[in-house]
């Protein structure tokens, strides 16, 4: 006897068990004009989860600038933002978090994060050409944290490497607030011809609806709801809510999808990520102002009986929903057959507005598509917020009471071997950075990775950035700096920013102090984006990044990661990071500030947790970016590297270590020596210049109103500072390289 799914009743209690609030249950009843059955309630619980609905963030996200003449698809319109590259080409890019799955099951959590973000890109018809990631881990002295590191890195590597798209850049930051809740943010960048863009919109009443790719299983059911609650000691019981990735299927799906895109037989397509079939059917229908009839029993499954709610919510990976122009079904089947992938018609586009789901000819759910989605029925909240008490400590910071260390060389050694600054080669070596033969930075690194566009001969420059300590201390200023630094990385490379995607990782939004961090960070980000004229083309919000442990709740350091894409019209303009030639002069461009606040130096050497974010002047920052691009275009400098974590000395050491050439730092410190060497005041970049180009450099600096300070010269194999020999470069290089292998080598794997 078959179960009568249609008449399974629900109550407020059922709703609460599924993660919905009593008032949300009330709203669902009003939208439907009746109480939902269990299957329908499950649909709402997935779609109205924080993850899918952005219910606690959308109000503020709307304050971010979204437009520019180059924006082809604005935030929220498609699966990813789309930017015009000229020459008939466009670029789709997006960053997304997979924090909670990675906390529970680091390997699969991270792997499926990579898979998900790449699907967002190729579902638009774009071929991914570069991947990036931004990772946050806890205290590396904890074996548990190292286990997470090992799993996350292997997960990203195994998925991305097999998928065959190079991982070209990334960043890693460790702090104890991430100990139980790592952040795994994955970004993908793809390119496509402007005429071949696939839209995530259902069009054409009567058009068949297909599910393609992997078969559907019971993995990841309620994953979206899971990602929308705090991690607790019981979270390990949520293991089935974590999905399992199959990069091989994804690679086939990519090739089949792009082959299909070229046939013109697709009316619309969306990948299946969070909340699976219910998300893709409702979002595509709502965008198109249509409805759908879907027969859930026709979905290819991995075996075992699945209930309708499981089929609706399953987050099995490597699947797409495709609306095909009627009459062209055979073309679709032929291509998927070629690639040995499942391809099954499960429904049809109908006159709006209803989504109707059937199971063995029984109607099991009927919901207006609009009721489920952001901007439609999904709730939007404005949470109360309040300034956290620790802000008083931040404001009380007085640099005058911070003693200047006697031995500055020791501090430099300490900083260059700090896990946040030291070489991450232990991690990056596990990622294929060269497949695609387009990564121009694999051999010669730059502040931003440069990826060649084979079809136009131009190049993209891409980077990810965020210093969570700055954001924790001063959320608005910290988020503003994240945007500025990403743009500076592009400028140092010679590129012009086109747009950015953000991944907003915060604690529980129902905690007013966490919400204050969120609101402030958005304010700072919006200010920077407007100032630089860089549109936000989309991204992802991840709340609930905090762990309840016994009776304590620890929010993570707030981390609004910025992923930025820029264009290098002529790849020969590219400026690289390492010193190139002995005898080149070293110059500091930008203001020298009397600033140690917010630095790794203050936090880790002096153990001062609370100090403001470093100083930044947006006008000076912008002038610097224009100057750096002018220097690149005219081939004036031989190397450039922006001053960031670890300050000027770490910047110089990195330029030296990557080249094997030492330097002699001669400029007497215009401010207190520790601020000069270790301060992280913004809007600065170190460049190397051949002596015969010095005048050209100074003319350009003068024209842009950017201060230039002669620091010294590229010289020999030693580090010399103010007349003192700090020893062979090799010693610093060894310290820089040894940190991560030493830490990760403690475990016997």
């Amino acid at each position: 006897m078959s179960r009568d799914y249609a008449s399974e009743t629900t109550s407020v209690q059922t709703a609460q068990k599924l993660g919905l609030l009593p008032e949300e249950y009330q709203r669902i009843c009003e939208l439907l004009g009746r109480a939902p059955n269990f299957t329908e309630l499950c649909a709402f619980s997935g779609m109205w989860s924080e993850h899918c609905s952005y219910k606690n963030s959308i109000k503020y996200l709307k304050t971010l600038p979204r437009k520019s003449p180059r924006v082809l698809a604005e935030a929220g319109e498609e699966n990813a933002g789309l930017i015009d590259l000229g020459d008939g080409w466009a670029c789709a890019f997006k960053i997304e978090s997979h924090n909670h799955p990675s906390a529970i099951e680091p390997y699969q959590g991270a792997a499926t994060g990579v898979g998900g973000i790449n699907r967002d890109i190729f579902t638009m018809g774009a071929r991914p050409i570069a991947q990036l990631n931004s990772l946050r881990f806890g205290d590396l002295n904890e074996p548990r944290v190292r286990r997470i590191v090992r799993g996350v890195v292997k997960g990203i590597g195994d998925y991305g490497n097999a998928f065959g798209v190079p991982t070209v850049a990334g960043e890693v930051f460790v702090h104890e607030s991430f100990s139980q809740n790592p952040l795994v943010n994955a970004m993908s960048v793809g390119i496509l011809r402007r005429g071949e863009i696939l839209s995530a919109t259902a069009r054409g009443v009567g058009n068949p609806v297909f599910i393609v790719g992997s078969a559907t299983g019971k993995d990841g059911i309620h994953g979206a709801s899971f990602a929308s609650g705090d991690l607790t000691e019981d979270s390990i019981k949520d293991l089935p809510a974590v999905q399992v990735g199959d990069p091989f299927q994804e690679k086939l799906l990519l090739e089949a999808t792009l082959e299909l895109a070229r046939t013109g037989s697709i009316a619309g397509m969306q990948d299946m990520g969070a909340a699976g079939i219910i998300c893709s059917t409702s979002e595509m229908s709502a965008r198109g102002g249509v409805g759908m009839d879907i027969w859930l029993d026709r979905v290819p499954t991995r075996g075992g009986h699945m209930h309708p709610f499981e089929l609706l919510l399953s987050e099995s990976q490597e699947r797409m929903l495709v609306v095909v122009h009627k009459g062209r079904e055979e073309e679709v089947k032929r291509i998927f057959d070629k690639w040995d992938l499942h391809c099954a018609q499960i429904g049809v586009v109908t006159e709006g507005p209803l989504l109707r789901f059937f199971f063995n000819d029984q109607k099991v759910a009927e919901i207006p598509a609009e009721a489920l989605v952001v901007g439609g029925g999904a709730p939007q909240y404005d949470r109360p917020f309040s300034r956290p008490a620790y802000q008083d400590d931040v404001e009380k910071f007085d640099p005058a009471i911070v003693p200047i260390p006697k031995n500055l060389r020791d501090v430099a050694r300490f900083l260059i071997s700090h896990p946040n600054i030291a070489s991450k080669k232990w991690i990056t070596r596990q990622y294929d950075s060269m497949v695609g033969t387009a990564n121009m930075s694999a051999v010669h690194p730059s502040d931003a990775a440069v990826v060649r566009l084979h079809d136009t001969g131009k190049a993209l420059a891409v980077t990810v950035d965020c210093n969570p300590r700055y954001v924790y201390c001063q959320p608005a200023q910290g988020a503003l700096i994240a945007v500025a630094e990403a743009a500076r990385n592009l400028a140092a490379t010679g590129a012009t920013p086109l747009g950015l995607t953000n991944c907003l990782n915060f604690g529980n939004p129902y905690n007013p102090e966490v919400y204050w961090q969120f609101v402030e960070a958005i304010r700072g980000m919006a200010k920077a984006c407007k100032f630089f004229g860089i549109p936000v083309t989309g991204g992802n919000v991840s709340f609930y990044n905090q762990t309840q442990w016994a009776d304590r709740s620890i929010p993570v350091y707030p981390t609004p990661t910025i992923g930025m894409v820029g264009l290098l019209e002529d790849p020969s303009w590219r400026v690289t990071l390492p010193f190139r030639t002995e005898g080149d002069e070293i110059w500091l461009l930008g203001p020298v500030t009397h600033d140690i606040a917010g630095s790794e130096y203050v936090a880790s050497w002096h153990h001062i947790v609370h100090s403001p974010a470093p100083h930044i002047d947006l006008e000076a920052e912008s002038s610097l970016h224009h100057l750096l691009r002018a220097l690149a275009r005219d081939h004036i400098v031989s190397a450039a590297h922006d001053v960031s974590d670890g300050g000027l000395i770490c910047c110089l050491l990195e330029m030296a270590i990557h080249s094997g050439l030492g330097f002699d730092l001669q400029a007497p410190p215009p401010v207190r020596p520790d601020a000069f060497l270790f301060g992280e005041g913004q809007s600065r970049c170190v460049v190397a210049v051949p002596p015969h180009r010095r005048e050209a450099l100074l003319q350009q600096a003068h024209r842009h109103g950017t201060p230039a300070l002669a620091l010294g010269v590229v010289q020999g194999q030693h580090i010399r500072v103010w007349g003192e020999d700090w020893g062979p470069l090799r010693d610093f290089a060894n310290a820089y390289e040894a940190t991560w292998p030493r830490i990760m080598g403690q475990d016997n794997f």
Partner: protein
């Protein structure tokens, strides 16, 4: 007469387009071959590209050897036709017994992507005739299963017959344990068959052939069959 190369695409191959771009760029006439094809087009050189054929969930290359086109590839090799397997292609060549030995999980159990040095151990093969004996090349590797293994007697035979073509070395050409990235026996990075028309190598020459990649050492290998066919080499 143009020199023709065919590149086999298996499901999961991901270096096929890179190989195509490099071989075309160097002057070959290149076509792609679908793994389900049971006929091989008339080509001088068949290439098996890198990637993760069938996901490599079983032993790397173990399923790809059963692809329909592989029978023809083996026949092509038997006729003396040139076959080049890179990375996953090398693994497939050992699985289908065109080459001896096996590629095991890297010694450190991790995927490794890096630029490494290899030394030419035999410059008398169609793939190395541009090189001189002992010449050192810097070539990228990117693999999880690259540790070459073969029984002692096989290794000895490989050495005796000059079938070891490339070995991992230091920048100045010394064969040392430190220069061995994956634990391969005898630092082996590439071997050929007895008649020297089939070469398998873990490093990726197609990732180092043009200025914008910052390394052009791979040309030495990729151009060899072309130059030989065009009689541009002495002898």
């Amino acid at each position: 007469m143009p020199v023709k190369a065919g590149i086999v695409t298996f499901p999961g191959s991901n270096c096929d387009d890179d190989l195509l771009r490099s071989l075309s760029g160097l002057g070959y006439e290149v076509e792609k071959i679908w793994h389900k094809d049971s006929n091989l087009p008339k080509v001088d050189l068949v290439c098996l590209p890198g990637g993760f054929s069938y996901g490599d969930y079983l032993r790397s290359g173990a399923i790809a050897r059963f692809s329909p086109v592989m029978k023809e590839v083996v026949r092509h090799a038997g006729r003396g036709g040139l076959v080049l397997g890179i990375c996953n292609g090398f693994q497939i060549l050992t699985e289908c017994h065109l080459l001896e030995g096996a590629l095991l999980r890297n010694e450190n159990m991790q995927f490794i992507c890096a630029s490494v040095y290899i030394r030419c151990e035999n410059s008398d093969t169609p793939f190395t005739r541009s090189l001189s004996l002992g010449q050192v090349l810097k070539i990228p590797i990117a693999h999880g299963d690259g540790r070459y293994y073969a029984p002692m007697d096989t290794l000895k035979a490989l050495e005796d017959k000059g079938q070891i073509v490339f070995r991992y070395c230091t920048a100045d050409g010394n064969i040392t344990p430190e220069s061995n990235p994956n634990g391969s026996l005898l630092n082996i990075a590439g071997i050929c068959n007895r008649s020297k028309n089939v070469l398998g190598m873990m490093p990726h020459p197609e990732r180092a052939w043009v200025d914008y990649l910052g390394n052009e050492d791979g040309r030495w290998i990729l151009e060899s069959p072309l130059k030989q066919a065009l009689n541009l080499l002495n002898g």
